[in-house]
């Protein structure tokens, strides 16, 4: 009696991956139009890049693209982690900013005290993972995710303010900072880390038993439980992995900016959730993947970047982001309602 025999959650169709959910009347496979609609965000992103390169001459230069990618990679890491949480049907992890700040403070404190690159990096990540473990355990026991992560956010933010005698940490000029500021050939390390994390999470989601469970739990928690899937372990895993990526973003942010305090990572939760949702991962759980989040992150980055290049007031950025959410998610919601009628 293996779990796979009973949990039929999403059926791969025509080898397109589980994104295409079979609906009644579509057993023969989705129409090309539906396939395209499911991937509309990829089309939007490509159009955005093409328009930006044609309209803004400075956009398609190596230096600018590099700057763009670096600017999104840290918050992007948190967004990749948030993807897992959202797919598992847990709505959001509001404690991400506290995890990022904790990672940065612990990482730089260890670095400052001369523990070396590996310990500093691991220490920051593990500290954040403990926060994720707390989230996961309480939520797996049935706590409301919004509520639990809000409570944990408040507590950990308080702890962050008290760490290092309430002083900012500046780290030690050494391997950690060199690593965060280094480049692999033409590609900055931050960007490499971001894309590697995305590939890793994409692999975990699509190719492993754990990833399958994340989709199953997110699509319908009670049927996943009835089917014998380890629901609790899956939820805890999703929150711990998400926290690990947030902690990694924190250590790197601290090392890159040479400063760590409780304000590092402020606003990451909203940014991450925005990127996840714009990418087309459903807030109801069970759908989406890391690739979509990467596209969401890049789209947000392109918009911000173009606005800076065009010298538009920075205050317009949240306005455009908000309108983009309404357009993408609202379009989906209206289409869904039209279909159900």
């Amino acid at each position: 009696m293996r779990p796979h025999d009973f949990a039929v959650v999403e059926v791969p169709v025509m080898n397109l991956g589980p994104v295409a959910v079979v609906e009644v009347g579509e057993i023969s496979g989705p129409s090309p139009w539906r396939v395209l609609k499911d991937r509309q965000i990829f089309v939007i992103a490509v159009i955005a890049v093409v328009v930006a390169s044609l309209a803004v001459p400075q956009f398609a230069t190596v230096g600018n693209v590099e700057a763009l990618l670096v600017s999104v990679s840290l918050a992007g890491l948190a967004a990749i982690g948030m993807t897992l949480v959202v797919i598992s049907g847990s709505l959001a992890d509001l404690s991400v900013p506290a995890q990022v700040a904790l990672g940065s403070i612990v990482g730089l404190m260890l670095d400052e005290r001369g523990y070396g690159f590996a310990i500093a990096l691991l220490g920051g990540v593990c500290a954040a993972m403990l926060v994720g473990l707390t989230n996961g355990v309480v939520i797996a026991a049935g706590g409301n995710p919004i509520l639990v992560t809000l409570a944990v956010l408040t507590v950990v933010k308080g702890i962050n303010q008290g760490l290092n005698d309430s002083n900012a940490v500046y780290g030690y000029p050494g391997t950690l900072k060199d690593f965060a500021n280094a480049s692999l050939g033409p590609v900055p390390v931050l960007v490499v880390v971001f894309f590697s994390a995305a590939v890793a999470i994409q692999f975990v989601l699509r190719k492993t038993r754990f990833g399958f469970n994340v989709y199953a739990v997110g699509a319908n928690r009670s049927s996943a439980r009835v089917s014998g899937l380890p629901v609790r372990r899956t939820l805890i895993g999703a929150f711990v992995i998400s926290a690990a990526l947030a902690g990694l973003a924190g250590v790197l942010a601290g090392a890159y900016g040479s400063q760590a305090d409780f304000n590092v990572g402020a606003g990451y939760e909203i940014y991450a959730l925005t990127a996840v949702v714009i990418g087309g991962t459903s807030l109801f759980g069970g759908k989406g993947d890391a690739a979509r989040t990467v596209v969401g992150v890049l789209l947000l980055g392109v918009i911000t970047n173009v606005m800076i290049l065009l010298n538009l007031p920075t205050a317009l950025q949240p306005v455009v982001t908000g309108l983009l959410i309404v357009a993408v998610v609202g379009g989906d919601a209206i289409a869904r309602r039209g279909r159900s009628r």
């Binding site: 809000l150 308080g158 303010q161 205050a315 982001t321 309108l323 959410i325 309404v326």
Partner: protein, 333 residues
């Protein structure tokens, strides 16, 4: 006596009453010398309480409003723009922007059908951008410092004008939620939206009303702050929404909707303000306050889990006993 106890226990405010008692006792034991000005606690609670009570209405409907922080900031900014020398006119301006934001939220959630969590993140983001644009990302000053000082003078005993506004809002909202048909519809919506629709409740219109109430409350909260400080700052929106959610939940309203009351939220806001004022009076840092707030919230969540477990055990034990007695009955009979 027993009847009275069980009646109190059934009220949604019972839990916050218990929490408040425990916190008061613990605070008194830990900080026996702390002196707190009740007048200050009330003022402190009035803004946060106003915002949280508006949010309560939306959460009872089973929706979420993360844009209250932005609405609060925009209410304050519009108050300053209308001129603090005429608080009445400024109140109208703040209420107008609150109404507009409420209608937009209602449209995006009720008509377009976007999940309210992400929808209000979007509208909050748009509103914040507009707030930055119209203020050039800098604090704005009012023109009535004397009014700001007078605003915090007690009218009677410890009751200052902001507290009067807070109390009026509390009474109106509590009566609205419990005594009017529309208010009860809100509970029905939060309990089961499909059933509410089937029962003929105009769901979309109710969602509109909920977000309008929440927008108005948050904007009037902004008006209070702006009159009090004779200044407004677009950055004041940060963290407000999450603190308001905390107050709502500690006050006994479930995030799943259908239960709770504005009164419970008001009590929670008072409790949090009491704790904050005590810690401030003792010169303790924001760290202690944050950890305390978060721990109370965690305890509330944990208590809910525990209540579920206890209920499950009771059910199990009850079933065993029934099973055993029926077997005994079969053996003797």
């Amino acid at each position: 006596m027993n009847a009275l106890v069980s009646r109190v226990r059934r009220r949604p405010e019972a839990r916050i009453l218990l929490i408040a008692l425990v916190v008061m006792v613990v605070l008194n034991l830990l900080l026996p010398d702390a002196t707190v000005s009740i007048q200050q606690v009330l003022v402190r609670a009035s803004t946060a309480g106003l915002i949280a009570m508006g949010l309560t209405v939306v959460i009872i409907q089973g929706q979420f409003d993360l844009s209250v922080g932005t609405t609060y900031a925009l209410g304050a900014i519009f108050t300053i723009f209308a001129g603090t020398s005429n608080p009445g006119l400024a109140l109208l301006a703040a209420a107008a922007i609150g109404l507009v934001l409420g209608v937009i939220n209602g449209f995006v959630v009720g008509v377009m059908g976007i999940n309210s969590l992400i929808a209000t993140i979007a509208t909050g983001s748009i509103g914040l951008g507009l707030a930055y644009l119209i203020t050039d990302e800098a604090p704005v000053q009012g023109n009535n410092v004397a009014g700001a000082i007078a605003f915090l003078k007690p009218v009677w005993w410890v009751i200052t004008p902001p507290v009067i506004i807070f109390l009026i809002a509390l009474i109106v909202l509590q009566l609205f939620m419990l005594r009017t048909r529309t208010g009860r519809d809100f509970y029905a919506l939060g309990g089961n939206q499909d059933a509410a629709r089937a029962a003929g409740i105009p769901v979309r219109w109710r969602v509109f009303q909920g977000f309008i109430i929440s927008g108005l409350c948050a904007a009037i909260g902004g008006w209070l702050t702006a009159i009090k400080l004779d200044a407004a700052n677009p950055n004041q929106s940060i963290g407000v929404a999450l603190l308001a959610v905390a107050a709502v939940v500690i006050g006994g309203t479930a995030l799943t909707g259908g239960t709770g009351s504005p009164l419970g939220t008001a009590m929670a806001a008072l409790l949090l303000a009491w704790i904050g004022s005590t810690f401030d009076a003792e010169g303790m840092s924001a760290m202690v306050r944050d950890i305390t707030y978060g721990s109370i919230l965690l305890l509330v969540v944990a208590a809910d889990q525990l209540a579920d477990v206890v209920r499950a055990i009771r059910r199990q034990v009850g079933r065993r006993i029934r099973l055993m007695s029926s077997r005994r009955g079969a053996a003797t009979g």
